[in-house]
């Protein structure tokens, strides 16, 4: 085993992550190499020092001090409030759309289809009186008026500018 390789293995051995056969090889290398033994000892000191680090206690009232900072930040960031509201609004708006669509289908009657009927069909099926207009004209009092209006009502074709054709 070379020194470079042994350094890699001895770091693993300090964490007990070495398989037994490599462990034996490492041990025999360390027995013969004072330089690697020195390294091993230095690594042991370093790792022990790191593990022994004493942490100070967190400063008191951590959450109590954090709360006003969150509130303040929220005031500055109205988009965040919008986002929070938006999260709740999404299912609500989906529900409203579904209910509205259901109401449209259930309660609003569909418009009657316009039938393509002949004039006779219209008279018979839609219960229209074909003589209604004539009866109205005949009920006019003056004879002159009756004749003129009957004459005009018979002319139902018009030209391009909207005048009756002769």
């Amino acid at each position: 085993m070379k020194c470079k390789q042994s350094e890699k293995y001895l770091l693993r051995s300090l964490e007990n992550r070495l398989n037994p056969s490599v462990k034996i090889q490492l041990k025999s290398h360390l027995d013969d190499c004072p330089q690697c033994r020195k390294r091993q000892s230095e690594y042991q000191i370093i790792l022990r020092s790191l593990k022994e680090e004493s942490f100070p206690e967190t400063l008191p009232y951590f959450w109590e001090r954090l709360q006003p900072r969150l509130k303040e930040k929220r005031k500055i960031d109205p988009w965040f409030v919008g986002k929070q509201f938006g999260l709740r609004a999404i299912p609500l708006s989906i529900l409203v759309v579904v209910l509205f669509t259901a109401a449209v289908f259930l309660f609003i009657p569909s418009p009657k289809e316009e039938l393509d009927l002949s004039q006779t069909g219209v008279f018979l099926l839609q219960n229209s009186n074909p003589l209604e207009e004539t009866q109205t004209l005949l009920s006019e009092e003056g004879d002159g008026n009756k004749h003129i209006m009957l004459l005009f009502s018979s002319l139902d074709e018009t030209n391009d500018i909207g005048r009756n054709l002769p």
Binding site: R39, S41, E42, L47, L59, W63, R69, Q84
Partner: protein
């Protein structure tokens, strides 16, 4: 109430639920910040900022990882940003640090052995501050905070293999930097 419920309620704006999560994770986040800065006040500020960041980014937390892993990731990134800014401002040569600490008489440890141990710890922790950020972070997570390799991989979003190799380089670099201290103290010859 389990953690998932607490996270869900926090997302909906329940501050009390978020408070429970803060109380659960504040110590670890604070220790992580402290191990990277060696400054109690800065660590407290950083920990508070980490939770503020997390609160306003809760809608981005999809629950693919543990909440703890997610919050440590935020903490690591936030501390890295802080260190980057700080390093730009101050860069103390390592020799000065080691010389200064070695010369100090620590009166809080009357026993010579204890005093030596404390001094050694101080030197090691101060030397970590001179390493590049990525090595400082990985040493802090593994050797100080005692996170497992897979946890570190998740927090740093790297493979466990990369954790192993980066950690190896970090320890090697730290030992190299500490060589003057060890030779000064005559340590490391035989244990």
């Amino acid at each position: 109430m389990d953690e998932k419920d607490l996270v869900r309620n926090s997302k909906e704006g329940d501050e009390e639920a978020f408070g429970v999560l803060v109380i659960k994770y504040k110590t670890k986040v604070y220790h992580l910040a402290y191990s990277l800065t060696q400054d109690a006040q800065a660590a407290d500020d950083l920990a508070q900022e980490v939770f503020i960041k997390a609160y306003f980014a809760l809608d981005k937390f999809r629950g693919k990882s543990e909440f703890g892993t997610w919050i440590y990731r935020i903490a690591v990134n936030h501390c890295r940003d802080f260190l980057r800014k700080k390093n730009r401002m101050t860069q103390i040569p390592l020799e000065n640090i080691i010389g200064k600490i070695s010369a100090q008489e620590d009166e809080t440890f009357p026993e010579e052995k204890e005093q030596e141990e404390a001094q050694r710890r101080k030197v090691v922790h101060t030397t970590i501050q001179t390493l590049p950020d990525k090595y400082r972070v990985i040493l802090s997570l593994r050797d100080i905070q005692d996170f497992s390799y897979s946890e570190i991989a998740k927090i740093l979003d790297i493979s466990p293999g990369t954790v192993d190799s980066r950690l190896h380089r970090a320890r090697k670099m730290l030992r190299k930097k500490l060589e003057p201290f060890f030779s000064q103290k005559g340590e490391g010859h035989e244990m």
